[in-house]
């Protein structure tokens, strides 16, 4: 009885959490412009999402009116998706490089210097994104930097790198510090030693740092909003925001959200099943000995 009540509670909560997502998924399979209005099953929105972006490449250049007239998804949505991915790739790549080298540095620091670096590294993680966004915005304005791709990428690097440092640090702690010295003694340059000795051992941390940075960057909204400038640069989040503010949500965002959700679901399922499988295997090994 107790177990039944507990399970019921859990599933009611889950139902509450998933209800909105389920509605989006269901209504991605109908054509209606307004959500909640079922006009029969159709995969038209999916087709629009995948075809019209490529089919009408020139319209965008004639301004907003032309986009609105075209029947399919506006190219601006495609452009926004492209921007999101490019920015995320560049920002997480630079963050991973910067963060890994910095982690080696911080690891070898001592005392007050180490404390200061760790404190500074914590600031972007504790700062709410609106503060990070506004502070960078004010800096760019004061210095007179035109805001666009570069400013957004710099902003993303600032809040991604701390997580890379956090991912790489445990690997360094596990590592034997003498191997690097040995490489130097055998005539390797510091760069070679880093590349051939340290990198292979911290690779796991670098990869998880990269993945974390990538997902943080893709997901970011507030920081991007403040640093994207007014030259028309949009990422997926800011596009959705602008779209929602105008009143109606572009219907094609429903299939897009569905696809994103499915990808996340599959990825997480694979990762977790893999982890459960691994831990079971380890447990079995322990039992044997």
């Amino acid at each position: 009885m107790k177990k039944f009540l507990a399970q019921t509670y859990i599933w009611i909560l889950l139902l509450m959490l998933y209800a909105p997502i389920i509605i989006i998924i269901v209504f991605s399979f109908t054509e209606s412009k307004v959500l909640g209005n079922w006009t029969g099953f159709s995969t038209r929105l999916y087709e629009n999402l995948f075809t019209s972006g490529a089919a009408e490449p020139n319209i965008l250049q004639y301004g907003n009116v032309a986009i609105k007239v075209s029947s399919g998804v506006s190219n601006s949505l495609f452009k926004a998706i492209e921007n999101t991915i490019i920015i995320a790739l560049i920002a997480s790549f630079i963050s991973t490089m910067l963060g890994s080298v910095a982690a080696v540095g911080i690891f070898n620091l001592k005392g007050k210097k180490k404390k200061t670096m760790n404190f500074l590294n914590n600031i972007p993680m504790l700062n709410p994104d609106i503060i990070t966004g506004i502070s960078l915005f004010l800096l760019f304005v004061a210095v007179g930097v035109t805001q666009g791709y570069t400013s957004v990428i710099i902003a993303h690097i600032t809040f991604c790198t701390p997580y890379v440092v956090l991912c790489v640090m445990p690997k360094l702690i596990q590592m034997n510090p003498n191997t690097y010295e040995a490489a130097l003694d055998l005539g390797a340059t510091p760069f070679q030693a880093f590349n051939k000795v340290i990198v292979p051992q911290i690779k796991g941390g670098m990869i998880s740092g990269f993945i974390l940075s990538f997902s943080l960057s893709i997901d970011d909204f507030a920081v991007t909003l403040f640093t994207k400038g007014n030259k028309g640069l949009e990422t997926l989040s800011t596009y959705i925001y602008a779209d929602a503010r105008k009143g109606g949500l572009t219907p094609e965002l429903r299939p897009l959200a569905t696809i994103i959700f499915t990808v996340v679901l599959v990825l997480l399922a694979v990762i977790n099943i893999y982890m459960v499988y691994n831990s079971k295997k380890q447990a079995q090994r322990k039992l044997k000995f």
Partner: protein, 257 residues
């Protein structure tokens, strides 16, 4: 030869330029006027405007309500999930985490869609539900983590010594899960107080929160006033963080028995 400790230098330079300097810019802008003259007018302006103060207090109220609701709903869930006898499957906790990986705006818009679908008017109620919906996983996960790591022999000891189930919970489980609760409160309260898009979308801009006020001022070119508001938010967040860290340290000591 470059010492390895010097490898932190590029990152240090980067952080000074893009973390420390921007924060100083907030400070600089909030204490100057449009022409760059030093002034307290921005703060005087804020504290003399009834509407601004009202929005500020209202945001804190909403954040507190949201945090409490998340705690009330989330604690039992985390407790159930951590108990082997009540929940065998490890999949359920993952189900709670998955929505966190979907973009906040998409989640919020989905909530708006849900309200539209069942004809619930957008407004304060919708705002609170939407916030709870968005932040509940952030409360459940840290509490679940602490409860999961908790040594069950404490509970068994209390049982052997004759504690009723309520006493076991109140005197053993609850104090031991305190670090998780503090973490959860931090992870829910801080984002709620600084949020702006969620409230806009959930209330059709009828209800204004502090975050929205800041964003509007910055957007409309009122940088100095906006910076002053941002500084006020920063102070609140700094105080909350310090407070919770102190609380956590005390709990750690208490936890050592």
């Amino acid at each position: 030869m470059v010492k390895r400790s010097q490898w932190a230098a590029p990152y240090l330079v980067f952080m000074i330029l893009f973390v420390v300097l921007p924060l100083l810019m907030i400070l600089l802008y909030s204490f100057t006027d449009k022409d760059g003259a030093v002034t307290f007018a921005n703060f005087v302006n804020f504290f003399s405007q009834k509407e601004a103060i009202h929005t500020f207090l209202y945001s804190i109220e909403i954040a507190v309500i949201n945090t409490l609701l998340c705690l009330l709903l989330g604690y039992p869930a985390a407790y159930i999930l951590s108990r082997r006898d009540l929940n065998r499957s490890a999949v359920t906790i993952i189900l709670f985490i998955i929505p966190m990986w979907v973009n906040v705006l998409v989640r919020t818009l989905a909530t708006v869609a849900l309200f539209d679908f069942v004809h619930i008017p957008l407004g304060e109620g919708a705002l609170i539900f939407g916030m709870v919906y968005n932040f509940l996983p952030f409360m459940i996960y840290p509490i679940y983590n602490t409860l999961n790591k908790m040594d069950n022999s404490y509970v068994e000891a209390a049982q052997d010594l004759g504690a009723t189930p309520f006493q076991q919970f109140k005197n053993v489980v609850l104090p031991l899960s305190m670090p998780g609760i503090t973490n959860g409160i931090l992870m829910v309260f801080m984002p709620t107080i600084s949020t702006f898009a969620i409230s806009e979308l959930l209330t059709m801009n009828k209800v204004k929160l502090f975050g929205t006020t800041i964003q509007e001022n910055i957007n409309n070119g009122m940088w100095n006033y906006g910076a002053a508001l941002a500084l006020i938010m920063l102070v609140i967040i700094g105080v909350t963080t310090l407070f919770s860290y102190n609380g956590k340290n005390n709990e750690d000591e208490g936890g050592l028995l």
